[in-house]
Structures are given as C-alpha cells and as structure tokens.
Amino acid sequence: MTKSIINERDFKTLKILMNLVEDLYSQIVREEIPHIKIPTRTKLNIEFDEESEVWVYGDRLSERSAKRARGAYQLLKTAYVIDFLKYQLEENRSSTLRELYYISEGWGKAKFREQQESDRLIEDLEIITDVQREYFHITPEEDGANIFGPIRLRERLRSGDTREFHCIDDVGEKGYPIPSNVDNLEFIEHDAKMVIAIETGGMYARLIENNFYDEYDAILVHLKGQPARSTRRLIKRLNEELKLPVVVFTDGDPWSYRIYASVAYGSIKSAHLSEYMACPSAQFIGIRPVDIEKYKLPTDRLNDQDIKALESMKTDPRFDTEFWREQIELQLKMNKKAEQQALARYGLDYVTSVYLPERLTEMGII
C-alpha cells in the first residue's frame, strides 16, 4: 500500500501536535516533572469577550502534572491519543469519538475508563492546540439535526462532486440533515427573514405541518436537545453571513435555558470554540417563566434537579442579566415548568397563529 500524500492542512495539524510532544520531551530533559497547562473549564472561568460578544475561557489555568497519579495518567493518555492522531493524519483516516474510546481498549494503562474521558481529552487537545477536532480527523457521532426552510444550499459529495438543492423543495418531510462539517456548505440564495431554532422534534414538525416557514419566511432548525457543534455553527453562519435574526424556541425549564445559552453565548464545556459557534444576537422566544403564567400553560412541578439547576444558574455568568435573574426568581417562586408543546392545549394551530406571531412582534422581528 502506498502511503497517501499528506495534505498541507493535515501536515500543519500534525506539526502542532508533535510540537506538544516535543515540549513534554524537553521538559523531561530539563528535569522538570512533565506537565501541561490548560484553561480551567468551569463556569468560574468563563468571561465575556467584549470584542466578539461571546463567552470565552478566562485566565485560570489548571495543570496536568505527573506529580499526581491523576495527572500522570492524563499525560500518558494524551501521548497515546496524539500517537493515534498522528497515525490518522499520516494515513488520512478518520474516526468518531466513540471509535477512539474503543480503540483505547488496546492501550493497557492508557485505556479510557469511559467515553466521557476520551471526549474530554480531545476537547483538551483542541484548547491546547487551538485546532478543532475535525482537523484531527475526529468526528462526533452525534446524529445531525435538521434544517427546513426557504434556502438553497450547495454541498460537497463524497465523490468530490457538488450538489445544489432547496431546503423545502428538494428535501423530505424532516428537512435536510445537517452534516458534521458545515463549513463545506455554501449558501446560494434564500428568501428567509429569520431563523427559528427549536428544541423538540414535535414542535419542529408542528411548524412544518402548519406551514409556518412559508407564512413567515422562516428557516427552521431542529436543535435535538443540546445542539451539536455543527448545528450551532450553521446557525452562527446563517446569522453572520446572511444577517438573519435568530430566535430560540424551547421548553420552559432550566435545561432548556441552557440550550438557549449554548446557542447564544457558547457552552462552558467548549468555550474555546465560542467565537466560532456562539451567536450572541440570538434571542430567547420562550417558553419563558412569565409565559407560563401569561398563557396559563399546563405545568409540572419543579423537581429537585430542576431547582438545583435554577439555583446553579444564579452563579452562571451567562445568565447574569436582569431578564434572566427575574425569570429564574419567578420560576422558583411559582415552582412550575412547562413544555413548549403545552401550547397545544389551545389547539394545534395556537402556536403558529397566536404564540409565535405575538412573541415575534414583541421582539420586533415581524
């Protein structure tokens, strides 16, 4: 088998990774206990970047040092992962996060105990090297969300050819499945006036069935819970390149507010990618705690986890605004939460004929 010629981008990535290994090696030669410094990844260490208007990591650094067993194991695993990435880049192979986890089965002491650990290590490497995991040839297996609406796209096919299609006319009833690397997508033309990002599949389907996209010229994006990176990146691109306003439509509970926050401000776990994925102008359309009262929605009581999550939001700098402080207090006080599909109590069309138009008008979008 002939060794494939490594392309320039992969060569650069490999160089960055190997520099890291060089660093570790020279630490040993210098008689330093091997260590890596990376930004602390907690809500205590994210700060607002005035320029890009997103939340990024602050100056706090954590040290992974071989002084302690934990750190020593992390370094050993890092070395094994980089060795594996080296192989991928040199041989032009790629793998999913899950495959990486299973590959480590054969690494003896460097084996990961759970996938969360290997996922985190890849994120660490992204932060340390300032290179995204796609460039390591590591892809998520998170199954892409969908997009539906008046926009024409061009995508690159595996064969190397390209294909153009319209996201209403040329797609199935669920829309176009968002690929894992959306930077390869080209926007050709569109008639859209806004982007609506929707948490649940049921609501996404409802808006399609009710022709909401047509009536209000809206691109609908299904977030599928906490959105994948590719979904967030695509929303960011629609907002930035096409100047479309973005609204996020979720359930009325603390977990959903976090979904909104990760679209708008970036997530704590991947604040290193905020500038690339966060969409600071995205607005929260609901369900807000105040809507639960205003629209008299059917509710559930908050459980212990909900209350804990709301309490924790109080110290999350992303929610440190007057609006969110009020909403959090209100929700804790009324001790209730509501799903977005609870709007159906007033009929299947209520959401598209009353709730969304009312809210969009309030927000000045229509």
Binding site: P34, A66, A72, K86
Partner: protein, 648 residues
C-alpha cells in the same frame, strides 16, 4: 452456684411495692409504649434488660433467647418470648415482679444498673394486657433441684396488685432461668433489611430512620445488635416473625465488674427523694436514718444536721412533716460531706468495647480497620458518680458519604430515640471534627461525615435523662464535658490513624507513577519523536523527594571517566556514605577513599547535602564502575540513575 437460691430469696425480701399502676395506665407513653412499633421494641428491651441484669448480679454468663411471632388472624398482634439462664425468681415473688408497677429491688438502692426504676417489665405486662386483654405467661426456676412454676398474670390497675390467672408447677425447658411470654399489639420492623420503614402517624423521628451499618436502629434487631456490642459477654439469639435468625455470639467469658451498691449521697438528694426515703426506711430514729441511709455521712454529721434543722434526733422519720423534711434537706446541703465513693460503677472497659465492635462489624485492625476505645476516670455530678466511655470504629466497609453512625448507651442500654436531644449528640457535635480528619459540613454543631461509628456509654448510679422514658441523656455540664473529653481522646487516635493512611496512600500513588506510568509515558513520546529515552531518575527523585545519585561514564580506550551527580530533593539535610566498586584499578580517585580487595577497588565518599544542594564527584579508572551503594540513609530515599545507557 449454690448461692443462687439464697440470692433470689434475699432479693425477694428487699422488694417493695409502690402503687401507681393507674397513673401509668394513663401515661404509658413515658414508659416507651407510645407507638406500636416502639412498644414492641420496648417490651423486648425491658425483658432483655431484666435478664442481663439478673445474670450479672448473680455472676452468670447470660444466654438470652428472643423470639417474636405474629399471632395468626389478628392485625398487629405479636407474641414476644424472652428466655434466659438467669437466677430465676422464687415462686412467691413472681406475681410481684411481673404484676406490680414500681416493684423492684433496685428502686431504693444506688447502683449502676440497666433498670433503675423497677417499672420496666411490669409496664410491658400492663401494656400487653391493655392492648390484647391477654395475661402474661411466666415460667421460672431457681435451681435444677427445685420445681419450675408456671404463672399467667395480669395487673389490677386500680390496686396495683397482681391478679393470678393460672398458677401451677410445670416442666421447665431449662434447669434454671426465666421465660416470659407477652402477647401485645405492635408493629414489627425487620431492621436487618435495607428499605423504607413505615412510620406511624404522630411520632416524628424520620431523621433517625436511615438504614446504617447497624441496620435500622429503631427496630428489635437494631436494639439487640446495639446491646450485643456493649455486652460482649452475653450470647443473644434472635428469631423474628419471618423466620430470620441471628446469633449474637459472645466474644468473651469475662463478666463485667459487678457494680457495688452505694447509698445516696446527700448532694444529689431532692425533697421528693428525701421524703420517699423517710417514708420507706426501716430506721425508727431520724439520726440513725441519716447515719445509715446516706453515703459519706457519719454519726457526728448526722447530729449536726439534726441540730441545724432543729428536729429531734429521736423522731421517727416516717412521722416527719413536709416542713421538717425541708429543714433537714436544707441542713443536709449546708454541711460539708466528702465526695461519694466511685468504685460503684461498672464500665464496659476499653478492651471489651473494642471486642464488641469488632465482633459485631467484622472488623480487623490487621486488615486496615480502626477500632479504639477510651474509658474515663469516674467523676461526680450532684453527688452522683458517673463515668464516660467512648469508642470509634473506622472502616472502608462503612458508607463514606454519610453521617457517622452514633450509638448511644446509658448503663449499657442502647438509647434508640431522641438522638437530637441527647447530651451525647450535643457533645459530639460541639467538636470540630475537621481537626480529627473527618469532614463536617456546616461545621461544628453537626455530626461529622465518614465511614465511622462513634459509641458513647454513660454509666452512673443515676443517669440524668431528659424524660421518664429514658431515651436521651440530659445536658448536665459535668457529663457533657466528660463525653467531650472521652470522644476527643479516641478522635486523637483516629487522627493519627488517618494521617498514617494518608501518607501510605500518597506513597503508593507516587510509586505507581514512578514505576508504571512515567516509564510508559517516556517510552511512548521518545518513540514518537524517534529520540533516545532520557534518564528519568531526576524526575523520580523530584517526585519522591529523594536523593538523586546519577552517574555518567565516558570511556576513552582503557580509561573510564566517571562523574557522579548527587542532588538532594528532600527538604531535610541528608548525610550518607557513598560506595562505588570498580573492576580494575583506579587511576585518579580525587577526594575518594580507596580500599583494595581481591582485584576490586572500592571507593567511598562521605556526603552531606543540604535541601536542594547538588554536588559532583569525579574520578578516573581502568575498569567499569559498578552500581553505587549508599550507607546511612534508607534505600527508598535514594534514586539511582545513569545518563546515556541502561543503569549500571
């Protein structure tokens, strides 16, 4: 053994009756018979306490059998059977012991014993009769040569007189001992099982219902297990309504020291007690009453008291008025009387406490468990002698994230309820446990968290309880401070243990790093970079805080140049002697001492290194150097390495 007969008869003579049956019928909650669940435990507890007390008083190793059966066809009705190998009860006294409230030999004596007020077992008899209408069945035998007697008894609640339903000679299933069978309303909780416990409405003790190492504390099983811990000389067999059986085996054949009876000390007497004593005394003159019925009170002081109180020394104490009693009490308190004797207390003892904990929780200090106990010297509060004992067991087997399990005892009896209101709990919560290596969320005022059991035993001739139901020790300053001192004394031992564990853990962790992880890491990255593996001995020395001895050998034809680098990574000064042997002659030893033997040359240097100090030794030889050896410093504190090549 021949004395049992006479002992039983002697006990009988001293028993007296106090008629309060009716009062207790209306106030049965203060005796621990408020909820169905608690009533069942209390009935077992009273019977078992009686058995253990009787055995100990007569020097018998207790063998107690507890059985609980569900009564068919009835809701919440159980049969409680408690059988012992104790001294037995003489025939004439059986009705009085079981069929009369406040009838007991212990009421007027001052001594540490489980039952102090003589209301226990008869209250259980009364409770049984009130809830099921059934009489209590008793079989007792005082000697193998004597017949056993069978009784069915009830209590006349108007007169506090026993009502004998059946009385006959019978065949006993034992040569000596007593068997009580009560049929009562109750609720059985299988305390050995994990799971939720139904709590009846009304009683609010949910905080104490979590399942812990001991099982559900507020259950018959929990009570028996707690009892077994502090009575390692007792063998207790338990069979529950589900057929579950457990034998709490004895761990020693040594009986606890017998508690000696003392008379009340004037300091702790109140008016009610004094009047009661005067009413029931056999003395006919107040002066001899004072002289004989009190501890530490002689004829002269008695006379003095009569004079101060302005009462006739020859007056019959039974005829004293309330007014006169008050004057006597005042006089009693005004005269100087020495402290009461302290040898009347019977501690469990440090060794026995440890044995009890080890056997009930399968602990073994040789396998890393910690069990320590402290028995304090006796002390006095209000004229009552008391002493405190404490023990702590710590084991990885116990839950780590929960509050420590506190087991409280008063006079060897477990206190199952009202943990929050007990002086023992207060004293423990007052301690800052972080100083002793346990976490304590919320700080002082809370129980610590960790895989530990804390046992506290308060022994006294008169334990001050917060209420008649004897569930919590009252907060008496002297007792609180003794509890704190006892617990702190064991906690200090725990701290030493935990510190040692921590050091061992860190050492193990470091060894894992240097012997397994670091070599793999260095191998991997060297291979990836296609570079030579660097010598990691300086890094190992740094991690371990060791002295580094790193050699470098350069060969030039016949000649070897040896450079030894010495560096102290410890934070203490290190002095040692370094040896290195060479196969062949040494050309230039520089400042090394030379010793030649069988063609080998051994060089040695005396080295002294301050913390962080680095030194170099150099010499030339015509042979290969061997691995260096040190003397005067432990091997684990030295890391030996070599630059350029495998270690020598």
């Amino acid at each position: 053994m021949t004395d049992f007969l006479t002992i039983a008869e002697e006990l009988a003579k001293r028993q007296r009756a106090i008629s309060v049956a009716e009062f207790f019928e209306k106030n049965r909650h203060i005796l621990g018979f408020d909820s169905k669940r608690k009533s069942l435990i209390t009935a077992v507890k009273e019977a078992v306490d009686n058995s253990l007390d009787a055995c100990e008083e007569t020097g018998i190793l207790p063998d107690v059998r507890v059985e609980i059966e569900r009564v068919e066809g009835e809701k919440d009705v159980y049969k409680v059977i408690v059988e012992d190998n104790g001294p037995g009860i003489v025939k004439e006294q059986i009705p009085n012991v079981f069929g009369r409230l406040l009838y007991g030999s212990r009421f007027h004596s001052i001594r540490q014993s489980r039952g102090q007020q003589g209301i226990g077992i008869s209250a259980a008899v009364l409770y049984a009769q009130l809830t099921t209408g059934k009489p209590t069945r008793i079989i007792s035998r005082i000697h193998p040569s004597k017949p056993a007697y069978y009784y069915e008894l009830m209590i006349n609640t108007q007169t506090n007189e026993p009502e004998i339903v059946v009385e006959r000679e019978t065949e006993a299933p034992f040569p000596r001992g007593t068997r009580v069978e009560l049929e009562l309303e109750g609720q059985y909780v299988a305390g050995y099982k994990e799971g939720t416990i139904q709590e009846e409405g009304g009683s609010n003790q949910s905080e104490e219902n979590s399942f812990r190492m001991i099982g559900v504390k507020q259950s018959v099983y929990g009570y028996l297990k707690s009892t077994a811990i502090v009575n390692p000389h007792a063998r207790i067999f338990f069979r529950d309504p589900y057929g579950f059986e457990e034998l709490f085996e004895r761990a020693t054949t040594e009986l606890p020291k017998k508690a000696i009876e003392i008379k009340p000390h004037p300091e702790g007497i109140d008016l009610g007690t004094l009047m009661k004593m005067m009413r029931y005394t056999e003395r006919t003159k107040i002066i001899s009453f004072l002289e004989n019925e009190f501890s530490r009170l002689g004829r002269r002081t008695a006379k003095e008291i009569c004079a101060i109180a302005n009462v006739d020394p020859d007056m019959n104490p039974r005829e004293a008025s309330r007014e006169e009693a008050m004057r006597i009490l005042k006089a009693l308190k005004s005269v100087k009387i020495s402290a009461p004797p302290l040898d009347c207390l019977s501690p469990i003892g440090e060794e026995m406490l440890k044995k009890g904990l080890m056997k009930e929780f399968n602990l073994n200090p040789k396998e890393g468990d910690f069990v320590e106990a402290v028995t304090r010297q006796p002390s006095v509060y209000l004229g009552n002698p008391f002493l405190v004992e404490a023990a702590i067991a710590y084991s990885e087997k116990f839950p780590k994230e929960e509050k420590v399990e506190l087991i409280r005892y008063a006079n060897r009896t477990p206190l199952l309820y009202q943990q929050g209101g007990c002086a023992i709990t207060q004293a423990i919560e007052k301690i800052n446990w972080r100083n002793y290596g346990l976490s304590q969320p919320g700080g002082t005022g809370n129980l610590p968290i960790g895989p530990a059991i804390i046992v506290v035993h308060v022994a006294s001739t008169n334990v001050p309880y917060t209420s008649e139901s004897k569930e919590a020790v009252a907060s008496v300053d002297e007792i609180l401070s003794e509890i704190e001192l006892a617990v702190r004394a064991v906690a200090r031992k725990l701290k030493i243990f935990l510190d040692r564990q921590e050091i061992l853990k860190k050492r193990k962790e470091k060894e894992e790093i240097i012997s397994e992880v670091l070599p793999l890491f260095v191998e991997k990255i060297s291979k990836m970079l296609n570079k030579e593996k660097p010598d990691i001995s300086p890094i190992i020395a740094k991690i371990m805080g060791n002295v580094l001895i790193q050699s470098k050998v350069e060969r030039n034809g016949e000649l070897y140049r040896v450079i030894i680098r010495l560096k102290n990574y410890d934070d203490a000064m290190r002095s040692f002697r370094l040896y290195q042997s060479v196969k062949g002659d040494v050309v230039d030893a520089k400042d090394g001492k030379i010793k030649r033997m069988d063609g080998m040359v051994t060089l040695s240097w005396d080295v002294k290194l301050k913390p962080g100090e680095e030194k170099f030794i150099e010499y030339f030889s015509k042979g290969e150097p061997q691995k260096p050896v040190v003397d005067g410093i432990e091997e684990e504190m030295v890391t030996i390495g070599m630059i350029g090549g495998d270690s020598i």
